[in-house]
Amino acid sequence: MVGLATVFGSGAMTNSIPEIERNDLIFVTGSNTKENHPIVALRMIKAVRRGAKLIVADPRKVPLVRFATIWIQQRPGTDVALLNSMMHVIVKEDLVDRDFIASYTEGFDDGFLKSLEEYTPEVGERITGVPKEKIIEAARLYAGASNPGIYYTMGITQHSHGTDNVFCIANLALMTGNLGKESSGVNPLRGQNNVQGSTDMGCSPNMYPGYQKVTIPSVRERFERLWGVKLPEKEGLVASEMFFASGAQKVRAMYIMGENPVLSDPDVGHTVEALKELDFLVVQDIFMTETAELADVVLPGACFAEKDGTFTNTERRVQLVRKAVNPPGEAREDSWIITELSRRLGYEMKYNRTEEIFHEIGMAWPAMAGMTYSRLDEEGGLQWPCPTQDHPGTPYLFKGGFPRGKGRFTVVKYRPPAEEPDEEYPFVLTTGRQLFHYHTGSMTRRVEPINRVSPEPYMEINSEDAAELAIEDGAMVRVSSRRGEIRLKARLSKRPDRGVVFIPFHFREAAANVLTSSIALDPLCKIPELKVSTVRVEKV
């Protein structure tokens, strides 16, 4: 989000899901949409059936490739080169939108234009491994479309240069004027039901609800008035820093609600150690997760079906969550637990109904001020910004301009990933999800039929690589990196290119994040490079 927020002044999907149907070109990069956002993929398929062109850029032959006009199989971690090369073609063939650039952007001619010069299709081909004809064709298709949408996920962001990747995507959209209108924009697809919401709600060390910076005194004062208490002045630690901070900064106690960092964060060994070192760990969850097992106190929360509230989906749509059943045994709604704890720590939060909290959110962040539960109920959710009761919500952003004034071009240079294959670790490991399981598997692995169709961890490897290593389909392999090793079955496939292996991270018995690095972080947003690590694969 940092990337988009820097460029536009706000970070979220610029368009809404139904608009995908009217895209005449869809550019999907670093997103296994058919498996990870299946319902968004259905809209894409619908658009393709209606005649839209589809470009899929992914190191793996993901299922969406079947519907693609062209598939670009770039080497993992070379997205900047690919995108810069496409933009080089667009400039060279004069397919840029001069009017848009002049009216709505800044920084096009200041070095940006020049920075593209070196990224000829030939250079692009050399770095990415993609034939230059395909790069040229993709560039023409994108620039020639009238309503193109770009869709990406963690395949773009989970890199040591994730923000750079996002900058490139933004540059591409800006130079062709494909923003600020229906069915044209830049759309990061959010991977969890309420990532958008938890970001919106200010669960960030540097921002209050609504992306308002904690370091700006006037903002802080407003929140102090709202909450009736003095607030801390300096920014807090981001998640990855919490596990690294030492000395005076050292974190002694943690309260983790509904997360399982042991499996979801890079370098499992390191995460476990950091958590064990804490003086006190409280975990609030619905299952005894790998993280909860390390806790001093475990508090049983309620799942989505057991409470009222709202989720905000990937297209900024706030929708009602309704209670259907009672929580099991003594388990309680998380909001009750938080307010009880707060009272005991001397700060009383008093709400009679969940909607009162929602009302307070509207006071904290004007973009949601126009929403009420009854509106959400009647209108099937509302997309922020929705500042007033009579505002219809906002299906697409940046109509007629950007929050920060003008969209900014950013000069981006290709940097290789933090780890590159060598003799000791010759394979590139990329991690992600698959269709049947979700995240660390705490929910789906407890659903018996799902576990029956996808019972165990596996590693996808190109059949030819496997043949060289004498690995047969279904054989056990040992995969090791500089951090650790796991054992799991090999799945021979045409999906990854040669030299690339893929491991889903849902399985605790062979956790992919034992292998990934917690040090390779994006300098700006501190996201770990989960999509590129190097490993060695051996038959056992």
Partner: protein, 346 residues
């Protein structure tokens, strides 16, 4: 806009609409079994036959585009006779075991049989006999109840883009099945289950869990990825037994395997159901009073000793906005630190 007459009523509709769409827009009922507005018109069940002035034979309303001045009759003795024959023919090749059928109460065929009062059947004859033997864990396929409306085949191809099933064989022996009649092996989105008008396709998880009339339905939002699909939870005896989704929602009623079939974790016996405190290296069940007091005491102690910044919180992209709001507010206002983050803020 075009003007046409349906059953003597003059109505205006958009050009390019079908007669069926036009009738529906104006709340004129035409029975159908194979129509779904989200799928391409099919014209297979022949229930929506109507008569159009100047057209020699009855035509299906679902496939016939409207034209200016068209005069349509949707019901008369002749048309109802044809529809009655069609339903009677279907029932002549149907198990008619509504007493034990999971779909009873939510079955379009049952409704039509009731509507046409078909107790007797003039066409009693051979019935297809198939073994139920699909070993997949999600979808019960009872092909004796299949009426070949083709919705499952179409949704799988047109919407899901998978084409896991197709109609095989000809004539009376036509049968919807995966290639070579193997067990279903697909994305298990269950779109086919959601469009099936009879009990031919049912979710295995909900079999025998409750009759339609006893089910409470609650609309909510999916807890998995960020698409924000709308779910309707079907609840019987404080248990979620089935998930569906209405076609009028953001996701047009479509769900994925997780959204449709991934609900069993709610009632999992592994759910945490009491607060736990680690005592001498082992978790012990405690009361809320004890647990909350203990947490407050320890956090308070650490804050007093090391300052508020020695405490950090990780919130959840799985929790609601309200909970996330409270969580960060708790850290900032109650604990006094900005050390609050969630795992996927990137």
């Amino acid at each position: 806009m075009l003007t046409l007459t349906i059953d003597g009523r003059q109505i205006e509709v958009k050009e390019g609409s079908t007669v069926l769409q036009a009738a529906r827009e104006h709340e004129i009922y035409i029975p159908t079994l194979c129509d779904d507005p989200r799928l391409e018109p099919y014209g297979g069940c022949r229930l929506c036959l109507v008569q159009i002035e100047g057209v020699p034979r009855p035509v299906t309303a679902c496939t016939t585009p409207v034209s200016e001045g068209m005069k349509v009759e949707t019901t008369n003795e002749y048309i109802e006779g044809l529809r009655r024959t069609v339903v009677e023919l279907i029932l002549s090749d149907h198990p008619n075991d509504c007493m034990v059928c999971e779909k009873a109460g939510d079955c379009t065929l049952q409704e039509l049989a009731y509507f046409y009062g078909l107790r007797e059947n003039r066409f009693r004859g051979e019935r297809r006999q198939y073994a139920k033997r699909d070993a997949n864990p999600f979808i019960e396929r009872d092909m004796e109840k299949c009426i070949l409306c083709g919705k499952c085949v179409r949704v799988c191809e047109e919407v899901q883009g998978v084409s896991a099933i197709e109609i095989a064989y000809r004539g009376f022996n036509a049968k919807v099945c995966p290639p070579f009649e193997k067990d279903l092996d697909c994305e298990f989105c269950g779109q086919c289950v959601s469009v099936c008008p009879t009990g031919a396709l049912m979710g295995k998880l909900s079999l025998g869990k409750g009759r339609q009339k006893d089910i409470k339905k609650v609309d909510t939002v999916c807890p998995y990825c960020g698409c924000g699909c709308n779910l309707t939870l079907h609840v019987a005896r404080n248990e979620v037994i089935r998930v569906s989704s209405s076609p009028e929602t953001l996701n047009e009623g479509w769900l994925c395997v997780k959204g449709r079939f991934g609900f069993k974790f709610i009632s999992s016996p592994e759910r945490l159901n009491t607060p736990l405190i680690r005592k001498n290296g082992r978790f012990e069940e405690v009361s809320w009073q004890e647990a909350l007091d203990h947490v407050a005491e320890r956090l308070g102690g650490i804050r007093d000793r090391y300052g508020p910044d020695a405490i950090a919180g990780l919130s959840s992209a799985r929790c609601t906005n309200e909970e996330n709001y409270l969580f960060q507010k708790f850290f900032r206002a109650a604990v006094g630190t900005n050390n609050v983050d969630h795992c996927a803020r990137y």
